[in-house]
Amino acid sequence: MRAASRPEATPEEPLPQRQIALIDLLDRLLSGGVVLTGDVVLSIADIDLVRISLRALIVSISEQNPSPWHAISAPTGDDHDR
């Protein structure tokens, strides 16, 4: 006896055709995960840059949940000299 709608085996990998929305992924990859200082120090300014340059598309790093680099708001070519 088995439910008709259930696959026989639980697939370990997700089905390739069921693609995850990029925005859901970026929410997690750009504001989740363990933050380590790698050797290529894209760290601070560059991740900030992701936020800045793509902010029209994704606004990923939450304001209530500022990232460690938040304090260092590097002047990254955002063109507003004030």
Partner: protein, 270 residues
Amino acid sequence: MTATVSYAYAVARDADGSLEEALSGLPGVAEAPVHLVRVEHSDDVVVVSPVPERDFQEAALRAHLEDLDWLESVARAHHRVIQALAARTAVLPLRLATVYLDDERVRLMLRVRHEAFASRLTDLAAQVEWGVKIYVEAAAETERPASPPTDAGLSPGRAYLSQRRAQRHAREDAYRGAEQAAERVEAAARAYAVDRVQHRPQQGELARGPGENVINDAYLVPLQQAEDFRADVMQAAEGLPGVRVEVTGPWAPYSFAALAEAEPLKGTTP
């Protein structure tokens, strides 16, 4: 020959030593197969793959990260590796584009941090992340009648105003409904969840409708209760007009991976 650096995806538990074989041939970023970096006296490994140095130097990376297609391909490759790990073992995803000069540098990092990793991996073992999003559907669009108002007793001006009022009320109802949905969903979720992180509501071109995203939360749920969580959350908002609940996942615990030591202060609660 292309110079490479080591892209680190995650820390994972390799308790029975089978992970290397299980992952063999799995392509990572830039299609190179992933492998493990180990240290002595620990079951926890870092999953890495070589990536071209020229793409991951600071200036190049800076430029690449502005390229949405490049970002997407790296994000999907990163996620593919995390998924494969999460299907087999406890995993602590690292932030996108964590790069070391070589595997030896990764090993050094693991040696220094393995205790913090081990404790977080233990906390997160056998738990999954669910994304829960609540949308207010565009009431203004759906409420607009296709034909002129039927109430013939009203002048065109009054009819217009009454129609606008009806639209506004529909929208207000939808937002009220969303608030109610949020409360019900949260109550349902709390019965199972051990932690929650609130992401910023999704907006902009990448956000998918229909409707406006007003809640974008992540819940950490024990694996055994994962399906019950999903079912109860989906059911919680049934019957509320103009409100849609979307559950994504199960994800590896991306939103909960942060190490305790990275938090500003240890909590004072017992």
